[in-house]
């Protein structure tokens, strides 16, 4: 029991973060909050990967005297790449929100949907 609950603490944390982030993306109407949720969701995956590579009592993977147990560096390197992708995504999303705010005058999803529906309706009924 202890193994499952405490030994896998990192994985529990990753799943919890994942669900929190996912819920924020779905439930929040504010576009900035959606981006925050997306970030939490991505960070959960980073935690998941990093935990995967860690070995109890392992050091950094360096060739040297007395180093026998070391963590797997590959998942850590992969996550460096994923972090870079995450930063690019966040930057792009924020840039889009700035432009949305300029053209719509709001970043609340509900109001944006209303404006979009009005525009769709105008287009559909134009002859």
């Amino acid at each position: 029991m202890f193994e499952i609950h405490a030994g896998l603490f990192n994985y529990w944390a990753a799943i919890a973060l994942m669900m929190v982030g996912f819920y924020i993306v779905i439930a929040q109407g504010n576009l900035i909050k959606k981006i925050v949720g997306l970030n939490i969701f991505q960070v959960a995956v980073f935690v998941f990967y990093i935990s995967m590579g860690k070995i109890d009592g392992g050091t950094a993977p360096i060739l040297g005297e007395g180093i026998k147990v070391y963590s797997n560096p590959l998942p850590h390197v992969l996550i460096l790449t994923a972090i870079v992708v995450g930063v690019a995504t966040t930057a792009l999303a924020l840039a889009l929100v700035v432009r949305i705010n300029r053209s719509y005058g709001t970043i609340e999803e509900r109001e944006i949907i209303e404006i979009n529906h009005a525009a769709d309706h105008d287009e559909d009924t134009r002859l």
Partner: protein, 495 residues
């Protein structure tokens, strides 16, 4: 795996990838276009060379990054299904760039045009990379390169709704990609490898674990989001409707097809030696979603006024046909799914090019705007009709070849109701195509109708190349069918 490394595999990705920053440095629309144009046609040349090599010798082409042997280094591997996908991406890329110059000058602010070409180059590079990489994590990186650049491309649309569509696509696309890396991470935990060929040989040993089951679920859902498989298609209609015409042409003909390729890779290569369709309850789920896409999205298309949105819903329905082919999970079914990747790219490419030409000539956005357009822009409307016939699946068009392959696959697998449903859903395509044809040819032009602006040859030519290709490969399907068939055979055997 001791094959001679093929340098052209890496060039296919490197050339457009390097062209992107060069386009940015030029800060000039015409120079950026010339560079992109040269690159796109060079890439097409390389893609044709590689596909010729693939069909001549029945083998897989390899390249090892930095000379590191797989599975330690990243390996690029191209087989026939990948070859078909790079052929689609490269030829649509070259034709789109030819078409792009005049259309983009009209639709995008002039100081942003050079950036547009940089983004298109990145997108092409990412899509080609997905098709040739042999590494599951590298595939994620390419997926994000192509996705991030397509969000930017969509947001360049004139209408402000382009911005919200791009934002929605960004949120959904990122969730999809993140699901994919969760799946890859779980597979790595169980197998210790990221190399796709290696995964394929190690996965059977751990196939019974819950981790792998969950990994497969994450991979399937993540890619289905990117693929716009019903009901995960919500981002697609807005993105296609409000993006600049050129972007819609390129993405409609390539992006969802490449995601479909990833789905095929997951089911038939990574999980190729496990009978995924027997072990996991995949088939009923995929059948349900594919059929729902075919019927619900086609019905939705019938009610659209915006012409690009109508075609977007039709694309969702067509994705349904492709997934249906995969889910039949026989060699014939897979052949049908793969051939429809190629055929649908021709059909939708030519139709969106026709719509782009109408937008160029008369500023058309809705079906009502198209009243009498059959007489005012006869050449453009004729290409649209040729594409429309393909969507319905009239004999002598590529659509017929696809539907024939799918229906006969369903019959071979003794799934009679499926064959009937494929034919029935084609009738819905008749309705939405006919609606446009009726307005364009039967309804008189409005009295104060403007004369259309002359559409330049550089836009008409690519449109007619695709429209005629959709008839040529419909009448003479040997080359594409052979390629799709041997690709499917190769996949069914495992990598």
């Amino acid at each position: 795996m001791t094959a001679e490394p093929n340098i052209f595999l890496i060039l296919l990705v490197i050339i457009p990838l390097m062209a992107a920053p060069i386009c940015v440095l030029t800060r000039n629309a015409n120079v950026a276009w010339s560079i992109s144009m040269a690159v796109a046609w060079a890439v097409l040349g390389i893609a044709i060379k590689l596909v010729m090599e693939l069909s001549a010798h029945d083998k897989v082409l390899y390249y090892r990054i930095g000379g590191w042997d797989a599975p330690w280094g990243i390996e690029y591997a191209l087989d026939k299904v990948g070859g078909l996908v790079i052929l689609v991406v490269a030829s649509i890329g070259a034709l789109t760039l030819t078409y792009a110059k005049r259309s983009v000058e009209k639709e995008i602010t002039s100081e942003r045009i050079y950036l547009f070409y940089a983004m298109l180059m990145l997108c092409i590079s990412g899509l080609l990379g997905i098709a040739i990489t042999g590494d599951a994590f590298n595939l994620f990186v390419f997926m994000e390169i192509s996705s991030l650049s397509s969000y930017v491309l969509i947001s360049l649309g004139k209408d402000k709704r382009a911005l919200t569509s791009a934002f929605n696509y960004l949120i959904m696309g990122t969730i999809g990609a993140t699901f994919y890396i969760i799946g890859v991470g779980m597979m790595y935990m169980m197998t210790g490898t990221l190399n796709i060929a290696d995964l394929s040989s190690i996965l059977p040993a751990v196939a019974d674990t819950r981790t792998i089951l969950v990994a497969l679920a994450f991979l399937t859902v993540g890619i289905s989001l990117k693929l716009a498989l019903f009901p995960l298609h919500m981002w697609l209609p807005g993105a296609y409707a409000f993006a600049p015409s050129v972007v819609t042409i390129f993405l409609a003909a390539t992006a969802t097809k490449v995601s479909l390729y990833v789905l095929i890779r997951i089911f038939f290569t990574m999980f190729g030696r496990i009978d995924v369709f027997e072990t996991f309850p995949l088939q009923p789920v995929l059948f349900g979603m594919a059929l729902a896409a075919m019927f619900i999205a086609s019905l939705a298309a019938i009610w659209q006024q915006n012409i690009k949105r109508m075609l977007a819903y039709s694309s969702i329905a067509q994705v349904g046909y492709m997934v249906l082919g995969i889910a039949i999970a026989t060699e014939a079914g897979l052949t049908g799914g793969i051939i429809h990747i190629f055929n649908h790219a021709l059909i939708k490419g030519s139709m969106f090019m026709a719509v782009g030409a109408m937008a160029f000539g008369l500023g058309v956005t809705t079906i009502n705007d198209m009243a009498g357009i059959g007489r005012r822009m006869p050449l453009v409307m004729a290409a649209f009709v040729v594409g429309g016939l393909g969507l319905i699946g009239i004999p002598l068009t590529v659509g017929f070849v696809s539907k024939w392959a799918l229906v006969s696959a369903a019959l071979d697998a003794e799934m009679w109701p499926l064959a009937a449903l494929i034919l029935l859903s084609s009738l819905l395509a008749v309705i939405y195509v006919w609606r446009v044809v009726e307005v364009a040819y039967m309804r008189p032009s409005p009295e104060n109708a403007k004369q259309p602006v002359q559409v330049p040859f550089s836009m008409l030519a690519p449109m007619w190349v695709l429209a005629l290709a959709s008839v040529w490969f419909g009448a003479n399907a040997t080359f594409t069918m052979d390629l799709a068939h041997s690709a499917a055979g190769h996949l069914m055997e495992g990598f």
